[in-house]
């Protein structure tokens, strides 16, 4: 028997938490001498009230879906993958190599190949920490943190010394050939005969992200591998009793996790920048942690949380762009959202439970 109805748990609680987070954010905005109402208006208008805003919101959300799923899959295996940042960055390298060094007649051919490149490189970057955890017991939290730094160093080196076209100031690779440019959602809309999200970076990867959510859901809850991943994540002795090899599952789960993080590069590197730039991931790997945890480690939750963060990113960007509010305010709002919906959720849930228990007693009496 549950203490409160499921809908209250999965919808009401986060909603109230969100409201609390925004209320405190409003106080912060007041404290720095700006108008919260104005700020909210700019954010909502800039992120949600135009196809243009959505074009950006969905673009950011796509990034977060991938990194969120990456954290989620590892989490189900009992592993805390902080390395999404590095894995996504190296995934970008994979995309770049595929697109720059192989000739592609059409994006539809380039895309699957680039996906393989992204996933493969991301997975490889997760492999060493995974293997060290499985065989040597080296704490995956440290090793993945270290691998983020190492990835940054490696990319820095490659971009400056290897991939950078001669004479270019930018530590970035050459642009990908036009044939590999992915269709934007705006182009697709035009193809269907209406104008939507002109000049926004949201692209076909968004659908791949949705597909990834579905596949991850199937993987975790519908396949034997998923069953074994979850079993190991919950209890290692039990998994061993059932004949599940922890080493194997740790390595596989991390490979999948790294591959998902790497796949993000399809969106930001292939879809948006259309070349590899330094720090292309821009912290999405870390946002992925929040997205996974807030999404309760369920793909649907991850999707919703990614949308929320996409909104915060885009709305916050608008705020920074068009008002005098410093862009750091967005970081504060993000922090408050993470805090209230992710860590202080019981502050809302406990009284709610009491409320529903009381209701039930009255109903039962």
């Amino acid at each position: 028997m549950e203490r409160m109805p499921k809908w209250a748990d999965v919808i009401l609680t986060p909603l109230i938490s969100l409201v609390l987070a925004f209320a405190i954010s409003a106080l912060v905005i007041l404290a720095i001498g700006e108008s919260p109402v104005e700020a909210l208006k700019v954010m909502v208008e800039g992120a949600l009230l135009s196809s243009y805003g959505w074009g950006y919101t969905l673009y950011y959300a796509t990034n977060f879906v991938f990194t969120g799923l990456a954290v989620m899959v590892a989490y189900h295996a009992g592993l805390f993958n902080i390395g999404g940042e590095g894995q996504a960055a190296i995934g970008g390298l994979g995309v770049t190599l595929v697109l720059l060094y192989l000739p592609w007649p059409h994006w539809a051919l380039a895309l699957p190949a680039a996906m393989v490149g992204a996933a493969l490189f991301g997975a490889l970057w997760a492999l060493i920490p995974a293997w060290l955890q499985a065989r040597r017991g080296s704490h995956i939290v440290i090793t993945t943190i270290m691998f983020n730094f190492i990835a940054a160093a490696l990319l820095n080196y490659l971009l400056v010394n290897v991939l950078r076209p001669q004479g270019s100031m930018d530590p970035a690779s050459a642009s990908f050939p036009p044939a590999t440019h992915l269709p934007k959602l705006s182009d697709m809309a035009l193809g269907l005969g209406f104008e939507w999200g002109k000049n926004t970076p949201a692209n076909i990867t968004f659908f791949i992200a949705i597909g990834a959510c579905l596949l991850v859901w199937l993987l975790i809850w519908r396949t034997r591998l998923g069953y074994e991943i979850r079993a190991l994540g919950k209890s290692e002795p039990a998994a061993v009793y059932a004949g599940i090899s922890p080493t194997r599952i740790i390595v596989i789960a991390m490979l999948i996790s790294g591959a998902l993080a790497g796949l993000m590069a399809i969106n930001n590197v292939m879809g948006e920048a259309e070349r590899l730039i330094f720090n292309a991931v821009e912290g999405a790997g870390f946002i992925g942690i929040a997205v996974a945890l807030m999404g309760r480690n369920h793909p649907f939750g991850v999707f919703l949380a990614a949308l929320l963060f996409g909104f915060l990113y885009q709305g916050g960007g608008e705020l920074a762009l068009w008002t005098t509010i410093p862009r750091e305010l967005i970081i504060v709002i993000q922090a408050l959202v993470i805090l209230f919906t992710g860590a202080l959720d019981n502050m809302v849930r406990m009284p709610l439970e009491r409320f529903f228990m009381a209701m039930r007693k009255r109903g039962g009496a």
């Binding site: 017991g137 270290m146 730094f149 160093a153 945890l293 504060v332 992710g342």
Partner: protein, 321 residues
């Protein structure tokens, strides 16, 4: 490499390891009590900001130190509230605190000083200065010991000595006092502490508070000890490195000293030899900069083995579900 160079590198390592050591010990108290803390970074950052601001405003670095402790303590309280009182997810809370500090410091700094999140540079009594230990100069001539004393041991700010003194102190508190016994117990099996008639909540809050104080000192050291003012994001990942050192040290004080020294040393070495010329190949600066991280992984994999965290770590203490 001559003796003088080695001394200079070790001297630099001592300065660089100090914030790591303080943060590492901070994490040690918290995690030994069963509260995981990836928010060390954020707390240090907040402390760096509050300490620099108050030191600037008052011109007194000691008030700055107090303010730094206060700033970190405030975030500790948030973490305590989330992970102890409301039994929230400690990892999420830590992540949120890191974001919160990164945003708030710049927001407040910009509001107060208008320098884009920087504080003005600190001068005179508004910062900690290096102290020369007695006889440092007189003894310099003594072979071996003299230079070591004068170069490496003498000539740091008071916070460096404090950090080093905290290592034996922490050891003593942990293993020789009632408080330490209960602290360790509450991180291993909170129910045992509860049924022994001691409040788990109070113990954990105490641990989290100590963690805040130490992070506060670490942050104050960054802004008023080793440099002279706050710059946004100036912790530059040191909180994560401290966390790595903590796991490396398997949550014990003396190994924590060793682990943070190793990190400091590796950074000092890569500072000193930006392009290491090995004769047949020159290692580019990017890789020398990444050296501490690469070596950490190698050492971890090769020599440290399985690190078992405090058994009740990361889990809120729940009696009635």
């Amino acid at each position: 490499m001559d003796f003088a160079t080695i001394l200079q590198i070790v001297d630099s390592a001592v300065r660089l390891m100090t914030p790591l050591l303080l943060a590492c010990l901070a994490g040690l108290y918290s995690e030994r009590a069963g509260i995981f803390d990836i928010g060390l970074e954020g707390k240090m950052l907040m402390a760096a900001f509050t300490s620099a601001s108050v030191a600037y405003a008052t011109g007194t670095v000691w008030l700055g130190l107090l303010a730094g402790i206060g700033g970190a303590l405030a975030l500790s309280l948030v973490h305590g509230l989330a992970s102890i009182t409301f039994r929230g997810n400690q990892l999420i809370s830590g992540v949120a605190i890191n974001f919160l500090a990164a945003g708030l410091t710049v927001l407040l700094g910009q509001k107060i000083f208008g320098l884009g999140g920087r504080t003005p540079s600190l001068e005179g009594d508004a910062r900690f200065h290096a102290i020369t230990l007695p006889f440092a100069e007189n003894l310099r001539g003594v072979p071996v010991i003299g230079p070591i004393y004068a170069e490496v041991i003498s000539g740091h700010t008071v916070l460096v000595y404090l950090a080093f003194a905290l290592v034996p102190l922490t050891w003593w508190v942990l293993y020789r006092t009632r408080f330490g016994l209960r602290l360790r117990a509450v991180g291993e099996n909170p129910a045992s502490v509860d049924t022994a008639g001691v409040s788990v909540t109070r113990m954990r809050y105490a641990a989290v508070a100590i963690c805040g104080v130490l992070c506060g000192i670490a942050g104050a050291y960054l802004a008023t000890g080793i440099s002279a003012g706050f710059v946004k994001d100036m912790t530059a990942g040191r909180g994560y490195i401290a966390l790595a050192a903590l796991i490396f040290a398997k949550w014990r004080p003396w190994p924590a000293l060793f682990a943070t020294f190793l990190f400091g040393l590796m950074e000092a070495v890569s500072n000193r030899f930006p392009d290491l010329d090995l004769g047949f190949v020159t290692i580019p600066s990017m890789f020398m900069n990444a050296l501490p991280y690469i070596l950490t992984v190698i050492i971890l994999a090769g020599f440290v083995g399985r690190a078992i965290p405090p058994r009740a770590g990361g889990e809120p203490y729940v009696k009635e579900r």
